[in-house]
Amino acid sequence: MTRKSRRLILIAACGAVLALALGLILSAMSGSIVFFRSPAEVAAQGVAPGTRFRLGGLVKDGSVKRGSDQNVEFAVTDTNATVPVQYRGLLPDLFREGQGIVAEGTLDAGGVFRADTVLAKHDENYMPREVADALKAQGRWQEGGGKEGSKETPKDAAKPASADAALGQRSER
């Protein structure tokens, strides 16, 4: 076998594997990417029922209703619009009314968001970035205006490597 044909085989192998990787990435991009929406965006643009997305905002005061068998209903608001949410499962430790959360799931035909994941942060002043940005965009955000307002947010609660990963608490069904 000549040097040239060996090189050709090598290049063909590289091309095949890289094409496979690219194909996988593209197909995954079209299928498994989840967009973030605020309640206002959901109200304004509408999201087709059945499309997975992340809904972020504040848990509306007085909206949490606990049903039987770990079912819970609450509403997520960005003060402009409100989306009702249904969830079954254990909620994160920091889930409470007025807290910023991100829920992942789909809208049903009746406009109720059926969440299968609820995320909240392990810090009493925490606001998910997406929520904070969405609120800022609507001018509803005051710097330092956490719920408790008083205590300084730890400037950098970030921890080495995967500690950061874990700081958000997940709750999945």
């Binding site: 090598l10 996988l24 500690a163």
Partner: protein, 666 residues
């Protein structure tokens, strides 16, 4: 006072690393050999200074010196001693200090490894390592000073985030950093070789142990982090595909590829350009990882807002080193002489495929991690790339790689015989098939991929055993049928051969553990004392709910008794909610019961006013194999390091001068 001396030591380290980075270059220009020799002592000095600074910060944490900002923000007098110590690196400033400590440690280590690294290469490597150290120490001093004071000093600190008050997290960061900062030294070696323009088997032999050390630690660090996340976060997942986890996974994948291509270079003098590029890329990915973790730029529920100036600084470091190294590479690479030839079906060919699949897998993780950031910057659209993306892209690339692992081992260097290799692995194929079919039959109607995964795991493990077996039996005329001879030969095989087999078997064990998760079950219920919750083959009865108290927390604990479906007790398990008054935070403490290598995992939900509790019970078959396999992989790396040819700092010629027992234990 000690804090000020620590700060001063850090500044001294900055100066020393500058000396270490500049002097060898100056020496090359002026031809002054004595000047070149400065690099070694300077590396030791830098390490000593940073070590002192690190100890000074530790001292401030242990003595709860609340005049230091860093201690105020992350410590509390009531915190147990172990977490006062681990709190040193449980924050941005301290963890960056640990980062440079490890950079300097590797520099000093190379400086002492006089016999295994040729002198010019060593000096140049120290020079490159010092320039990395210099820039990161500069980063700490200018943007993240851990020694900043506060006046007036508060009486009490804010405490460490309770999630981090855990033994797993005390050891995880040092291990992880030894790994991914450890790859800085292979980067330094690569750049040094490009500067010198000499890249050959000698270089490969000098670099290989360092890559192995870093890789083994990184394997341990990632495994430890994964186990910590598993039991501490209370939802039973062992890998999140979170950007911060991916940040450590990417250098690991690239480092794994590097380990394999270095072997080709050492044995066959081929793949030189590629190996050097991989060494550069591996540490570049570590830098990208640090950027992801430290800048807080990624839109992730897990990233905290942090000082943007830090992000910009790290981005500049990133551009400087990655850009610089790649430019040097582009300039020098064409001048490298091509190495040994090999046929596509050969050990080298298999290792090239290994590298291809690993790099492709790494690229998909890279895209999945950074694409959301890029998209948000360009369009403002926020997206989340979660496990479905990574499972869909990563697994199809990982499976062919698993097929190649034992197969490549069975091929000869230069030109292999695929049919003979397949024949050698016949037993592995057979066992894998039986395992997969048996699992599918026993759990009919279950997930499809789980039995397939078990088959792959069995194939890898048996493949590793067969590799040692057939090497011990010998080939051609040397072939023996005598068991005693086989055994003697197996014992006599190089440690690196055993290390390789062990590491590959470890991969198989991890695959078994992952496959087992296909059968994991989850039970969810609201129960009162006396009530039951079931998951998989187990039923848990809630005995009582009561308060318990820890040093710096109050806990509401649920006590459960576990029984199997036949009604026999298999033990008790406790899970609780811990309230930490200093941070007013509640943390769920999950309860684990280990049965063999499987676990039952209980997690307490809300305690409702009427006395009932929300409870989640997982059954996780074979889950411990994920971490046991990782330990086996790292042990394989460690075993290879004890191979005579790979001992770092082990004298090659000095064996004549020194009795073997006097060989440095490094």
């Amino acid at each position: 006072m000690i804090v000020e001396i620590g700060h001063y030591a850090l500044a001294l380290a900055l100066a020393l690393s500058l000396v270490q980075a500049v002097m060898p270059a100056w020496a090359a220009r002026s031809g002054d050999a004595a000047l070149r020799e400065v690099a070694g002592p300077a590396a030791l000095g830098t390490f000593a200074c940073i070590l002192f600074a690190f100890c000074a910060l530790t001292y401030a944490h242990v003595t709860s010196d609340f005049s230091v900002q860093n201690v105020v923000e992350n410590s509390h007098t009531a915190k147990p001693l172990i977490y006062k110590i681990s709190g040193v690196w449980g924050n941005h400033e301290g963890s960056m200090l640990l980062w440079v400590l490890i950079l300097a440690l590797f520099g000093a280590w190379v400086a002492t490894a006089k016999n295994s690294v040729p002198p010019v290469l060593r000096t140049n490597t120290l020079m490159v390592q010092a320039s990395v150290t210099f820039v990161f120490v500069l980063f700490i001093i200018t943007t993240s000073n851990p020694f900043a004071r506060v006046a007036p000093a508060p009486l009490e600190g804010n405490d460490l985030n309770p999630l981090l008050q855990d033994l797993g997290l005390a050891i995880h960061p040092p291990l992880l950093y030894l790994g991914y900062v450890g790859f800085s030294i292979t980067f330094a070696f690569a750049v040094a070789a490009l500067i010198e323009g000499r890249i050959d088997a000698v270089w490969a032999r000098a670099v290989r142990p360092w890559a192995l050390i870093a890789w083994s630690f990184l394997t341990l660090g990632i495994a430890m982090g994964s186990y910590w996340a598993y039991y501490e976060l209370g939802w039973g997942g062992w890998w999140f595909w979170d950007p911060v986890e991916n940040a450590s996974l990417m250098p690991w994948i690239a480092g794994t590829a590097l380990l394999h291509s270095i072997v080709v270079m050492e044995k066959r003098d081929a793949l030189k350009v590629w190996t050097v590029l991989l060494a550069i890329l591996t540490f570049s990915l570590s830098l990208v990882g640090t950027f992801i973790v430290r800048s807080g730029l990624l839109t992730s529920v897990h990233s905290f807002a942090s000082d943007p100036s830090r992000g910009v600084f790290i981005l500049a470091i990133l551009a400087l080193f990655i850009g610089g190294a790649l430019s040097l590479f582009a300039w020098r690479a064409p001048t490298l002489r091509q190495g040994g030839l090999f046929a596509p079906i050969s050990r080298e060919g298999a290792l090239v495929m290994n590298n291809l699949f690993l790099v492709a897998a790494c690229a998909t993780v890279f895209v999945g991690t950074l694409y959301p950031l890029l998209l948000e910057m360009l369009t403002g659209e926020k997206i989340s790339v979660g496990p479905p993306f990574f499972n869909w892209t990563f697994i199809p690339l990982a499976l062919p790689l698993l097929v190649i692992v034992p197969f490549g081992q069975a091929l000869a260097w230069k030109r292999g015989d695929a049919a003979a290799a397949a024949q050698r692995l016949l037993a592995a194929f057979a066992v894998a098939l039986v395992v997969a079919l048996a699992a599918a039959a026993l759990a009919w109607g279950g997930p499809v991929m789980a039995p397939v995964g078990l088959g792959f795991g069995a194939y890898l493990i048996i493949g590793s055993v067969l590799e040692i077996w057939s090497r011990a039996r010998g080939y051609g005329q040397n072939r023996t049928r005598d068991l005693a001879t086989t055994w003697r030969r197996a014992i006599g095989l190089p440690r690196s051969a055993w290390g390789t087999a062990l590491a590959h078997a470890g991969v198989g064990v991890v695959v078994l553990g992952i496959a087992g998760q296909g059968w994991a079950t989850e039970g969810l219920a609201t129960i009162r004392p006396g009530g039951q919750i079931a998951s998989g083959p187990y039923v848990a009865t809630l005995d009582r709910v009561g308060p318990t108290k820890g040093e710096n927390f109050e806990e509401t604990t649920a006590f459960l008794t576990l029984r199997n479906r036949a009604g026999d007790s298999v033990g008790t398990v406790e899970t609780g909610k811990r309230f930490y008054p200093s941070r007013r935070m509640t943390v769920t403490e999950s309860g684990l019961k280990t049965v063999g290598v499987s676990q039952i995992y209980a997690s307490l939900g809300e305690v409702l006013p009427d006395g009932s509790i929300g409870m989640r019970l997982y059954y996780k078959p074979l889950v411990l194999l994920i971490w046991i396999g990782s330990l086996i992989m790292a042990a394989g790396g460690g075993l290879s390091l004890t191979d005579r040819r790979m001992r770092v700092g082990a004298p090659v010629k000095a064996r004549a001068k020194l009795p073997p027992s006097a060989v440095p234990a490094e």
